[in-house]
Structure formats: structure tokens, C-alpha cells
């Protein structure tokens, strides 16, 4: 029987134990994840890197309750979530998890403010409260003057900043970001990295899957995956890793 344990002050906000994800059977068996143990502390930014097919995105989906593991456990905020019903997972996502995607996934018919307020509306907040929060978040990501613009009227960097604002709408315990700079040019990448750095400094917890070393450089911890297994862990200190910080364009 699984017992949900309340998270201690210094305990991990997100945790996996022996996480496995398998597809297919017999000779066609694919081990997308093979026994991943991971702990993410509150306010920590963890970057997961690795080659394509190493299991990064699968890990992110399991952490976000978008899929169920073949084996192992996933804990969020002291609660085991891998066995929750679809409805409970939906509630969990809208209350405690924010998502940022490589492709932004903004709804094109909604303005920036309407996109940002959508999770709050789905969570049952009043339109006024949801809009106030959306405006605050757009100010925070530097897009207050673009609140009424449609995604098609925004640059790539601006769109991703709107997506990040949307991820923060319900004050999630953790933001899961899948290649957040994968579709951005250098200038836009720096724009987004600055924002992530700013949010990290404000205490927001992030798990970021990326191919981009500059994104990895903004993290507190860098995990490397290969063939469904975490093979390397590096603790980063921005002040002590000037090269990476410079690479990320965050110096000065």
C-alpha cells in the first residue's frame, strides 16, 4: 500500500523511485526509462540533457502525470501520483504543475492575456481573478504591453514568454519545460533564459529537458540521460561556472 507522506520543509518537491517505462513486448521491447531515481528540491532548477531517444521527454511526461509508468513511483509535493485516476491527474496538473513546450502551444485564436488566464479559468477561478493574475504574470515576463496581441502578432521569444506566464498561472509547485528554446533563435533564447533565471531566483522550481547547453547552464543541477538511464549528475554554480553563464548569455 502506498502511503502519501507530507513533504518536509527541506525534502524533495518532486521525486521518482525506480521509474520504468517500457513499450512493446519480446524482441520489440523498448525500455524508454529504466529505473530512474530523481529528487528535485523546492526552488531548484534541474536540467535534463541527453541525445534524442534517451528518455528525457518520457521522464517529463511521467513527472507531469501525462502518462503512467510501467513500474516505479512518482511523488509530487509529498503525494504519490503514479496511481492516480485520470480525473485526479487532471486536477493535479491544473493545481500544481505548469508546462512549457518547445512549440509554445498557444491557442492562436486567444490573445496573450487570454492564453495566460486559461489554466486559472479551467481551475474554476473567477474571470476577474484569472485576468488580474494573467496581467500580473505578463508584467512579470515583460509583456504587459502585448496582453491584447494574438500569438501570430508576437515574436518566437515573446510567444515562449507568454507560454511561461501561462505555466505560472496557478502558482504551480513545479514547472516542467520541454525544450523551451528549441524553436528560438539566439536572441530569443537569451530572452527566455533571462526570464527562467529570474523566476529561478524568485524560488520557482523547474525541470527542464533540453539539448541546449546554454539552457543547461542556467540550472542548479545538470542530469545527463542515455538509453533511459540517468548516467551523470553535475551540480552547477553560476558564479563558479563563468564559462557556462557566459555561454548562456547571462553575464553582466
Amino acid at each position: 500500500m502506498v502511503v502519501s507522506e507530507p513533504m518536509t520543509r527541506m525534502g524533495p518537491i518532486l521525486c521518482t523511485r525506480g521509474l520504468q517505462m517500457r513499450y512493446g513486448q519480446g524482441t520489440g521491447l523498448v525500455r524508454a526509462l529504466d529505473g530512474v531515481d530523481l529528487q528535485v528540491a523546492p526552488g531548484e532548477t534541474v536540467a535534463v540533457m541527453g541525445p534524442s531517444g534517451s528518455g528525457k521527454s518520457t521522464l517529463l511526461h511521467l513527472l507531469g502525470g501525462l502518462d503512467r509508468p510501467s513500474a516505479g513511483e512518482v511523488w509530487l509535493g509529498g503525494r504519490r501520483i503514479d496511481g492516480l485516476s485520470e480525473r485526479a491527474l487532471s486536477r493535479l496538473r491544473r493545481q500544481h504543475i505548469g508546462f512549457v513546450f518547445q512549440s509554445f502551444h498557444l491557442l492562436e485564436e486567444l490573445t496573450a492575456a487570454e492564453n495566460v488566464e486559461l489554466p486559472a479559468l479551467l481551475a474554476g477561478q473567477s474571470p476577474r481573478t484569472a485576468r488580474r493574475r494573467a496581467v500580473e504574470l505578463l508584467e512579470r515576463v515583460g509583456l504587459a504591453d502585448r496582453a491584447g496581441h494574438l500569438p501570430s502578432e508576437l515574436s518566437g521569444g515573446q510567444r515562449q514568454r507568454v507560454a511561461i506566464a501561462r505555466a505560472l498561472s496557478n502558482q504551480p509547485l513545479v514547472v516542467l519545460a520541454d525544450e523551451p528554446t528549441g524553436n528560438l533563435d539566439s536572441a530569443a533564447t537569451v530572452e527566455v533564459l533571462r526570464l527562467l533565471d529570474h523566476l529561478r531566483a524568485a524560488g520557482q522550481t523547474f525541470v527542464i529537458v533540453t539539448h541546449d547547453a546554454r539552457v543547461g547552464a542556467t540550472a542548479d543541477r545538470l542530469l545527463t540521460m542515455r538509453d533511459g538511464v540517468l548516467v551523470e549528475e553535475t551540480r552547477l554554480t553560476r558564479g563558479g561556472n563563468g564559462q557556462l553563464a557566459a555561454l548562456a548569455g547571462l553575464e553582466g
Binding site: 502551444h105 485564436e109 486567444l110 479559468l121 479551467l122 481551475a123
Partner: protein
């Protein structure tokens, strides 16, 4: 030649890849072409049986009848005799006395115009027997339509105003409108006599003045002197002196006169043969009462053979108009279905267009492939519609018992085939034009990237939906993304409900006429039922097409909503409700449209169907749409969200 082959090959392969869509297209166009075929072939099918009856019965060119004025004076028989001797008249029969009676047979009670006739054959209007023998003392002959309605034949027993008669025979005539529209003075041929007294007696013996009762007709109201033909002693005098749907029967003159105590209350009829039958209308204009005199109760009523044919034709004409209007409604629905199908398919398969373009296909080739696909389906649907129409038309073109002959050969001309094929191709062409142009205009890069067509933004709906519960919020936003598709959904349901409400109104109207016995116009109800079923099938196809296209179109926004915290249940309910809201709006529009259509199609005042039927239709419509959309919406909402989102490009 090579290019044509390429287009055909690509079109056939595309159809084979999606057999379900091709089948839906085929069904959509076939229902329209079937209804159109039926509507076309019914045109004029009554003319031949009427002509055959006219020849067999020495049918008159003009029928003149006259009734008492109602002030105690007898009918002006002299005016009829003068007409019989008027220039241009080559033969005549009559005057024959007549009056209205109550006939009872097999438990059915109906009113009838009862004529007293010669026992010997006459030169004009000698009814042709289809069963038994001609009138003799104590033996009645019933007009065939009336006999069929009562369910009697030669040898059966009937009562006329409570007096027993044996049915000597059954005959057809070209001198009277068909049952239940038989009409002699003071009824004007072609007028509608539908008001049936609420207290229509079942047993004439129970009536005042009936056998065993007081003798003589009921006393007329002093304020409104009785007009029209003599009403039998047994029958209560109506306000207009005429009641209800009536049949026709013949007795010997002595038997007929014997039914009426007051001989001055009888009406009279003469049947005239003209030297120039085609000039019947001119004869009526020249010799009939003119101006104010024409509406005097004592004025003769003159009916031409063409107006009598018109009444016979009217039953089939109503069927024809119903089928034609139905076919246009079905065509409209078919276009809506095809636009959604083709549009949705294009959105889903734009990459294929990109591939064709990338390997050198020109915009015209793309358009040609799309048009060829739908033209092939349209031609198949036209063939299917013509075949089904040809097979079922004889069932609907039966001229009825009142005329000789049967509509064995349905007029199936090249013009009919050409019309049906042209309409089918027109539907396919119109519906394919816009998507074909859009496909041709899409850049190769965009098509290869499979970029979805940007959704529309309806700011006021988005703002309004923010105040709604999650499923409704999602539903309104899904509907608002594609206003044209939503509009097509509304139009589709509105067309269907319009057709059904018009059918219900027509049915209610027929029911209100209450023609006793087997009313030959019930065949119209069968046509209405057929059209209703076809409309429902077409609407179901339309709804499936729309929900299919919507589910595909909304898959990304639905997946995103789930990632952001909406449950699969909320998303699937949202997708269903997105169809139900337009269905409700369409159904409400259709209610009004149906009443309007019934009013437009019927000369008589429209009969509003019972409220419970309208409410049931409204609710049924919404519930059927909910049921039809539930499964695809559920499937669409349960597809793994990240699989959908990863399948999308920025």
C-alpha cells in the same frame, strides 16, 4: 491523356484510402438525387389516367350545378336547361337532382352528394363501372374513391340517411372531383370545404328528423337563411349549409328524390359536352354568372374538365411539390455535409497536397484531383438516386381508385436523368470549389508542414465563455473557432427541422380534415414520412461529418486543455456540447422555418402541429446530436495529449 489518367489514378487512390468518407459522401448525395428523381417523375402522371377515365365515361367538358337560394324558392333549373342549349354545346345529360346525405357502411359514417340518375346510359358522363351493375331501384352505385374509403363493393349493404340500400356497383367518373373533394353548387369547384361540425352524427337514426324522428329539415336560422343544396332531413344544417369532406353516390332518380321530403330543396346538375373541349374555360366565362352574381347562392356553379383534372392532379401534385421541396432541402444538407467533409479532410490531409506540389503537381492538378474524386462520387450517387427513384416512383404515382388505369410506366425521360446528374455534379462542384481553391493556394512549405488553418477569433464569445463552467467554456470556444462550420451545423439542423415541421404541419392539416374512411390523401403522408426519414438520415450524416471535422480540428486545443488541467470528461462533453448548441439554435430556427414552409406550400391556412410534437422534436434533435457526437468526442478527448501535441508542428 496522360494527365487525365494521372488525375483519375490519384482520385481513385484517394477514395480508396478513405472508404468511410466516400461512403458518407455517396449517401449524402444519393438521398438528394433520389428525392429529386421522385419529384421529377411525378410531374403530370395523373393526366393519362384522367384522360382514360374521361374517354371511358364520355366525360363532360363542363359540369353545371345549381342549388336553391335558401329563401324557399327552388333551384333555378331553367338556367341549367338554357346552358344545355347554349351555342357550342353538342350534347348534355341531366338535369339530375342531388342533395347531401349521410352514408354509413362498415362502421364508417361520411357525407355524400347523392345524385338521382337515369337507369339507361346517357351520352355525357356515363360513369364507368369497375364493379357490379348500374343503378336500379334500391341499388346504389358508389364513386370508386368513395367506395374504397368506405371499404364497400357490389353486394354490400349501406344506409343512406338511415335508409338501407344495396350496393349495385362501383364506378368512376370524370365529372367530379375525387373523394373527399366532391363539390356541387353552392360549393364552388376548387374551394376547400373542411369544416366538419363537431357533432357529426354516427348514427343518423339518432338525429332529429332521422328515421323515427320528426320529419322535415331543421328550421333555418332567421338571420342566416339556409343556402346550398338540400341537406337531408337527417342531417343538421351547418352554418354554410355544406359540410365536410364528401363522397359521391348515384341512385335512381326516384330513390334520390325519395330521400328528401321537400323537393324544392334539391339541387340540379347538368353535364355538357362542347364542340371545342379546349374552349371550356371560354364557355364558362361566356355563360357563367359574372361579377357579384357569381357569388349569389342561387348562381350556377360551372366547373371545367380541366379544373376537375386539376383536383385529381392536386393529390399527386402535392406529393410532387413535397418531394421537390424535400429534394432541395436534401440537396442543401448534402452540400453542407460535403463542404464539412471536404474541408475537414483537406485540413487533415494538407500534407498530401504539399507532397503533390513538391513533386511538381500544379494547383490545377490539385483542384482537378479533388473535383474528379467528388464528381465520381456524385455520378455514382446520381445513378443510385435515379435507380432508387425509378423503383419507388410507381409506389407514389398510383392515381388512386377514382380514376381508371394505373401509372405503370413512370415518365423517365432524358431530361429527368440530365437534371438529376446535373444537380449531383453541381452539388459536388460547388462544395469542392472553395476547398480546391484553398488547397491550390496553400504554399508547398505550409502544406508540407501540415500547418492547420488558423482558427477564427470571436472575442465576444471568448469573453462570455470565461464565465461558464469548464465544459461549456470549452464548447463555446470550440464552436467559435470555426464559425462557418458552426453555421453549417445550424443550417443543417434548421433545414432538417424545417422539413420535419412542415411534414408535421401537413400531417396535422390532413388529420384536421378528418375525411372519413380511407382518405386517398394518406398517400401524401407516406411521402412526408419518406422525406422525413431521408432528412433525418441526411442530418445524421451531416452531424457525423461535422463532429468528425471538429474533433480533428480541435484535437490540439483539446489536448492542450487536458495538459492544462481539463479532464477527459470535460473535454468530451465540451466537444459534444459544441455540436448541441448549434443544433439547438438550428432546431429553433427550423421550427419557425417549418411553419413558414407549410404556409408557403399549402393554399389552406397552415395547421400548427401540436406543441408536444414541437417540443419533442426540439429535444429529440439535441439528444440525437448528443448521441451521435458522444463517441467521436470521447475518442478524440481520450487520445494521449502529448501524442497529439508532439504530432503538431509550431
Amino acid at each position: 491523356m496522360g494527365r487525365i489518367l494521372l488525375v483519375c489514378r490519384l482520385a481513385v487512390r484517394d477514395l480508396r484510402r478513405r472508404p468511410a468518407e466516400a461512403a458518407l459522401l455517396l449517401l449524402a448525395i444519393t438521398t438528394a438525387t433520389t428525392a429529386l428523381t421522385l419529384g421529377s417523375v411525378l410531374h403530370g402522371v395523373t393526366s393519362e389516367p384522367y384522360q382514360a377515365t374521361r374517354e371511358a365515361t364520355a366525360g363532360p367538358d363542363v359540369v353545371a350545378s345549381v342549388a336553391p337560394a335558401g329563401d324557399g324558392r327552388p333551384a333555378d333549373v331553367a338556367s341549367l336547361r338554357a346552358l344545355a342549349e347554349a351555342p357550342g354545346v353538342v350534347a348534355a345529360s341531366g338535369p339530375y337532382p342531388y342533395g347531401q346525405t349521410i352514408v354509413e357502411a362498415n362502421g364508417v359514417t361520411a357525407t355524400a352528394w347523392t345524385q338521382g340518375r337515369d337507369t339507361d346510359p346517357v351520352r355525357v358522363d356515363q360513369p364507368a363501372l369497375t364493379d357490379g351493375t348500374w343503378v336500379h331501384d334500391g341499388g346504389a352505385v358508389l364513386e370508386a374513391g368513395f367506395a374504397a374509403a368506405l371499404g364497400v363493393g357490389a353486394g354490400d349493404q349501406i344506409t343512406v340517411d338511415g335508409e338501407s340500400f344495396r350496393v349495385a356497383g362501383v364506378a368512376v367518373t370524370a365529372a367530379a372531383d375525387p373523394y373527399p373533394k366532391v363539390c356541387f353548387a353552392p360549393c364552388r369547384s376548387g374551394e376547400t370545404l373542411e369544416d366538419v361540425p363537431e357533432d357529426l352524427p354516427v348514427d343518423p337514426a339518432d338525429l332529429p328528423g332521422g328515421p323515427g324522428g320528426t320529419s322535415g329539415p331543421p328550421a333555418p336560422s332567421p338571420a342566416e337563411p339556409p343556402v346550398g343544396p338540400p341537406i337531408s332531413e337527417a342531417f343538421p344544417l351547418g352554418a354554410a349549409g355544406i359540410v365536410g369532406p364528401s363522397g359521391l353516390l348515384w341512385l335512381t332518380e326516384a330513390d334520390a328524390r325519395g330521400l328528401f321530403a321537400d323537393q324544392d330543396s334539391l339541387g340540379y346538375v347538368v353535364n355538357l359536352a362542347l364542340a371545342d373541349p379546349a374552349g371550356a374555360s371560354e364557355f364558362v366565362d361566356a355563360h357563367g354568372p359574372q361579377g357579384a352574381a357569381a357569388v349569389e347562392p342561387a348562381a350556377p356553379t360551372l366547373a371545367t374538365w380541366t379544373s376537375i383534372l386539376g383536383e385529381h392532379d392536386r393529390i399527386v401534385e402535392q406529393k410532387r411539390v413535397t418531394l421537390l421541396v424535400g429534394s432541395w432541402l436534401l440537396s442543401g444538407l448534402a452540400v453542407a455535409s460535403i463542404v464539412v467533409l471536404v474541408g475537414g479532410r483537406l485540413a487533415d490531409r494538407l500534407r498530401r497536397v504539399g507532397l503533390l506540389k513538391a513533386v511538381g503537381g500544379s494547383p490545377s492538378l490539385i483542384a482537378a484531383v479533388l473535383l474528379a474524386e467528388h464528381a465520381a462520387v456524385a455520378l455514382l450517387a446520381a445513378a443510385a438516386g435515379l435507380t432508387v427513384g425509378r423503383v419507388t416512383a410507381p409506389l407514389l404515382t398510383e392515381p388512386g381508385a377514382s380514376l381508371l388505369g394505373r401509372a405503370g410506366e413512370v415518365p423517365f425521360t432524358l431530361a429527368t436523368i440530365g437534371l438529376v446528374v446535373a444537380v449531383a455534379l453541381g452539388i459536388a462542384g460547388l462544395a469542392t470549389l472553395v476547398p480546391a481553391l484553398r488547397a491550390a493556394r496553400t504554399t508547398t512549405a505550409s502544406a508540407l508542414a501540415d500547418t492547420a488553418r488558423p482558427p477564427r477569433r470571436m472575442a465576444w464569445l471568448i469573453a462570455m465563455s470565461a464565465r461558464m463552467p469548464t465544459p461549456l467554456l470549452l464548447a463555446v470556444r470550440v464552436a467559435a473557432r470555426r464559425p462557418r462550420r458552426t453555421l453549417l451545423g445550424i443550417v443543417g439542423i434548421a433545414i432538417t427541422v424545417t422539413g420535419i415541421v412542415a411534414a408535421l404541419a401537413a400531417h396535422a392539416h390532413r388529420a384536421a380534415e378528418r375525411a372519413p374512411g380511407a382518405d386517398p390523401r394518406t398517400e401524401l403522408s407516406e411521402v412526408l414520412l419518406l422525406i422525413t426519414v431521408m432528412l433525418v438520415v441526411q442530418a445524421a450524416v451531416n452531424a457525423i461529418c461535422i463532429v468528425w471535422a471538429t474533433t480533428i480540428d480541435a484535437k490540439r486545443s483539446s489536448a492542450l486543455a487536458r495538459v492544462l488541467g481539463a479532464t477527459p470528461g470535460q473535454v468530451s462533453v465540451g466537444l459534444s456540447v459544441a455540436q448541441m448548441l448549434p443544433a439547438l439554435a438550428g432546431a429553433l430556427l427550423g421550427l419557425a422555418g417549418g411553419i413558414g414552409l407549410a404556409e408557403f406550400l399549402d393554399d389552406d391556412a397552415v395547421t400548427i402541429p401540436p406543441v408536444w410534437q414541437l417540443i419533442a422534436l426540439l429535444l429529440g434533435c439535441v439528444l440525437v446530436i448528443a448521441a451521435l457526437t458522444a463517441t467521436p468526442a470521447r475518442i478524440g478527448a481520450r487520445r494521449p495529449a502529448m501524442e497529439v501535441l508532439h504530432g503538431e508542428r509550431p
